[in-house]
Symmetry: C2
Subunit: 271 residues, 2 copies
DNA sequence: GGTTGTGAACATATTCACAGCA
DNA sequence: TGCTGTGAATATGTTCACAACC
């Protein structure tokens, strides 16, 4: 997901595991809710439930930050909120720009969670001259021509791309050239960026496809097992020399058998 | 991420690794682009570059699907498109409902990739009576009262939640009661759902926080290393009995030293 | 020669289970 | 007694490197 920042020596235990980092915001949200209800302390069990993880994982995650709990008691809510915020870099606030103010860009601009926790929308930018000057979420939309100036003037290091796929790569290049080093990409494209720039992507259709995969499994249950029988015992733990799951002759047959309900299934078979 | 579907025997090698499933849509997209350019075959190296992964990983991923390549040649693009589509369950089309037609819901409804690859928006649903009947993305918005009927009539098994956080849990319960078994949740809440229901979440502020974490690291570089010196050698591979990284006395000091630039840093320390 | 498919090595992440401390 | 913090065990994921094959 993150593109740059990959081949660090890894030895020397510096740094928190990526999987842990990805969960810290979850804990922070749960803790903030507790804090608002003035709950003073919380056990790993309770907090884990609220965050939707299991308690051993949570304790291990926290252990990477340091020993912030009290045995027999639990964690001090306020203190933990502070420590996690600090770890995530949310005690400073980060100006961000949103590029591409269509439906999605507007939704992001209006998103409350944006402004609250450490982030501030510095500018909304769109390539359409007709959009320039229009107010969205209480801010004027600015034209792409100003992109570089906006980033430099505001010291923006995080950019959000909500443009159509075709524009995303070029936008990312301009953002990076102007000083942005982290990008959140909503466009359905693989961005290619230089070493040291982090990219995270959010992709609706990928998420849906993953759900469809599991959904299909649920529906298939017995059917899938039956199909498996046809092709041999699926090589348990890999004992046999791993014959292809579907033998070459069976490929075309299997594909042909399955005439998709939609007309868009390619009928092309390999030569 | 996926909530249900966790404790399957795991033995017996059934199924494709989750990490692989998550990349299949990426490959599919890259392959579709090649297909549109009428490229007949592609090597693992080329395809991996297009999808933004490395080629060994891609080959291993494909090996879980079966032996679909030709040594010395590469993969047949059309054939692979078909195989991956089938594996993901995209040869059938999935009716989905979008609940919560605010800015985000509208953005999702308008999202092209939605309709194209195997998914069809069956209905847009909103709780606001004033929204009912309004046209969004060429479809009339329908009121929440109709939710159950819509799901049953259309055989919807995938629901997208784009409501405010407060409404999400209740909406998910109604969706599930009506027959939905997969949910894509855009609301910043942990949904609690019964066994067998898959939930994936997309959360803007989590993504931003993860970026901020890395961004802070970049800025801190030397500073972080220096801070580390103050607290001891960070227990290499865990030889010492793992003393707390910051000793109890140092905690308050460390926290106090770091006066956040913003005024919203909680000054509360644990008793 | 070129490229796949995959064991084996390595790396990361999760879970267990319990010692250690309040 | 209750709950944290963490080694050790396990599970999952990635990468290497090369035999098998076209």
């Amino acid at each position: 997901m993150a593109t740059g920042r990959t081949h660090r020596p890894a030895t020397r235990s510096r740094g928190i595991p990526e999987a842990t980092v990805a969960r810290l915001p979850l804990y922070l949200r749960a803790l903030t809710a507790l804090s608002e209800r003035s709950v003073p302390t919380v056990s790993s069990e309770e907090l884990a439930t609220a965050a939707g993880v299991n308690s051993a994982k949570l304790r291990k995650d926290f252990s990477y930050l340091g020993s912030y709990g009290t045995r027999g008691v639990g964690y001090d809510v306020e203190y933990l909120v502070y420590q996690i915020s600090r770890e995530l870099g949310l005690t400073q606030d980060w100006p961000v720009v949103i590029v591409g103010i269509g439906n999605l860009g507007a939704a992001l601009a209006n998103y409350g969670g944006f402004a609250s926790r450490g982030f501030r929308v510095a500018a909304l930018i769109d390539a359409d001259p007709a959009m320039a000057g229009k107010m969205v979420a209480g801010m004027p939309v600015r034209h792409t021509d100003e992109l570089e100036a906006i980033i430099e003037d505001n010291g923006v290091s995080i950019g959000v791309i909500a443009t159509p796929a075709g524009a995303a790569q070029q936008v990312s290049e301009r953002l990076i050239a102007a000083g942005v080093t982290s990008i959140l990409n909503f466009a359905p494209t693989v961005l290619s960026v230089p070493e040291g720039v982090d990219v995270r992507k959010v992709d609706l259709s990928i998420e849906l496809q993953i759900l469809a995969f599991h959904e299909q499994r649920k529906a298939g249950e017995g059917a899938a097992a039956a199909a498996e029988e046809l092709t041999g015992p699926a090589t348990g733990t890999g004992a046999a020399p791993a014959a292809a799951v579907v033998p070459p002759a069976g490929r075309a047959a299997a594909a042909a058998r399955k005439g998709g309900p939609e007309g868009d299934v390619p009928a092309v078979m390999p030569a």
